[in-house]
Amino acid sequence: MEAQLNQKIAVVESPKKRRMKEMASRFFQNKMAVAGGIFTFLLIIIAIFAPVVAPYNPSEQDYAKFLQSPNAENLLGTDELGRDIFTRIIYGARVSIEAGIISVGIALLIGIPIGLFSGYYRGVLDEYVVMRFTDALLSFPPLVLALSLAAVLGAGLQNAMIAIGIIFTPNFIRLVRGEVLSQREREYVTAAKASGISDFKIIFRHILPNCMPPILVQATLSIAAAIISEASLSYLGLGTQPPTPSWGAMLSMGQGYLGDAPWISLFPGLFIFLTVLSINLFGDGLRDALDPKMK
């Protein structure tokens, strides 16, 4: 009897695997999220292999064929300097994705530790310094804040990413702090203390993993917002500097030719739209898969 029972248990797969499987199946049931995920994934691949995929050099000018409408040679047409728009969009994807990931990375790197310590220890520093500081940052319209930061730091992609990272930080501080506030009152934290585990370990090993799902979802959605912010800054001339191709800058370049050559602006705009939509769909799907109760 005992042996039989043990055999039965042995057949059952490990709980960890099962949980992952459940989550994956929930995610794949959501068609829109899968589509968003695929598009995002393809875009990342194309961005990485841009030199291989792109048919031309992104800054190669050809005055023989400027402002050409989409044709067999130049799939999405050419701009006012005769550069291939398709090529420039592929290289622009690099900039956008890099900007999205790095600026959110900066926000996470600053926001998570501050949120964790602030929420765990509370006190005057949390109440009057951290919270009021985030309030102050959040009270600015984000783009205005990013603009002024980028203007202070100087134009350029790197500074734009730092500026965007900083404007996203308060969101993460608040999110993490809120999560910690609810987690620190849980009994498992007291129980961990009762086993002699240090505050530092409790914060990073016990509380942080429990805060992860909302952080992950917020990070994904923030990448989409960061891509738009980078495009906006580039559009206004404070982000990526020419000749580096960036979707936002291309949009702004094409502005003067909207009547004669709408494709110069249309396609970068379309890609910004598609990319942000895909990442958002993917993020929503991720949220639903991680926590079915959150709906």
Binding site: R19, E187, A191, A194, S195, R205, M212
Partner: protein, 344 residues
């Protein structure tokens, strides 16, 4: 006499509020011997849990501890957080009331047991995992090699409480504090967990402080019983003596609250101690139980009684057993002496 494992002397715990300080525990003394169990009994809010948390050094920052808590003669009240975290989990462990929430939901139970082992013992991760499996075996979890990778939500309440016990015992503590460990479990599981604790106590020779409001648990587990009321000890003694001769009116009332299945009159109503615990901000000057006590006299309302030794095994804090007691002055004898002796 040998030194007791844990000696608590005149423990006072107060919480500083914005306007005034509230005393939760007012002068509590008790001992726990090696390999023996002390049960602390009392209503919700009487300071049981606060007492245990102050022994662990886990009171919230606003809590102020006064008095002595001696673990093998070493005072714990003056220890820093760092020193305490070496003692916690190693020499003193604690298990909690809610097994459903006392485990970290996103870590496997094996990792949680191993974490404590690695913290207090010089072992590798592999050895800790092996020890964790042994601990799960010890607390009676079937096929521990499989269960060690389970997440808490995949285990039942009883299983989780076993895991909690495994964590608490993983470093062979000398003292285990159990704060209502069976309250959240159903009765059959309750019995299993209590049996488990008793067996492990014999095996590991540890002292246990059991906090409960369930007298059935007390009669099952206790060597000594401390009855608390509103932050004070009202009666303290060994189990037999307390169960056979409850002396304090509050203890007598508690005993009467156990429904008697053999009662001839089926319609017998449940006994209720009238009134409720006084608020900690407005403690009466005299005996704290006086307002609910059927025997209360003048002196009860004006002066607080001390713990008096009744015999070598039994102390009680009640004017009734002193020379100052005036016979016949009782206000309303709600509990008659006859009824008490019947139930004892």
């Amino acid at each position: 006499m040998t030194q007791p494992l844990l000696e608590v002397k005149n423990l006072k715990v107060s919480f500083a509020g914005k306007k005034k300080t509230t005393n939760i525990v007012a002068g509590l003394s008790f001992n726990v011997e090696k390999g023996k169990t002390l049960c602390i009994v009392g209503e919700s809010g009487c300071g049981k849990s606060i007492t245990s948390l102050s022994v662990m050094g886990l009171l919230p920052k606003t809590g102020e501890v006064d008095g002595e808590i001696l673990l093998k003669g070493e005072n714990l009240t003056g220890k820093t957080m760092k020193q305490m975290s070496k003692i916690r989990g190693n020499q003193i462990s604690m298990i909690f009331q809610e097994p459903m929430t006392s485990l970290n939901p996103v870590q496997t139970v094996g990792k949680q047991i191993a974490e404590t082992i690695i913290l207090h013992q010089d072992v590798t991760k592999k050895e800790a995992r092996q020890k964790a499996i042994e601990m799960l075996q010890l607390v009676g979890i079937p096929s521990p090699e499989k269960r060690i990778d389970a997440y808490p939500h995949e285990l039942s309440g009883g299983m989780r409480q076993r895991v909690m016990i495994a964590i608490a015992l993983s470093c062979n503590p000398e003292l285990l504090i159990a704060d209502e460990p069976t309250t959240a479990l159903d009765v059959t599981i309750q019995a299993q967990i209590l049996d488990l604790m008793k067996n492990l106590q014999k095996e590991l020779e540890m002292g246990i402080i059991m906090i409960t409001h369930d007298l059935a648990v007390v009669s099952e587990m206790a060597d000594k019983v401390l009855v608390m009321y509103a932050g004070k000890a009202v009666e303290y003694g060994d189990r037999k003596s307390i169960f056979n001769h409850p002396m304090h009116p509050y203890t007598q009332g508690l005993m009467k609250c156990i429904p008697d299945v053999d009662a001839e009159d089926d319609l017998e109503e449940l006994f209720v101690i009238k009134g409720s615990v006084p608020s900690p901000d407005a403690m009466p000057v005299g005996c704290r139980f006086a307002d609910r006590c059927p025997y209360a006299q003048e002196i009860c309302r004006t002066k607080s009684p001390d713990l008096e030794q009744v015999d070598s095994q039994h102390t009680v804090s009640c004017w009734k057993y002193t020379d100052l007691w005036k016979d016949g002055e009782t206000n309303e004898p709600a509990i008659s002496e006859v009824a008490v002796s019947k139930s004892s």
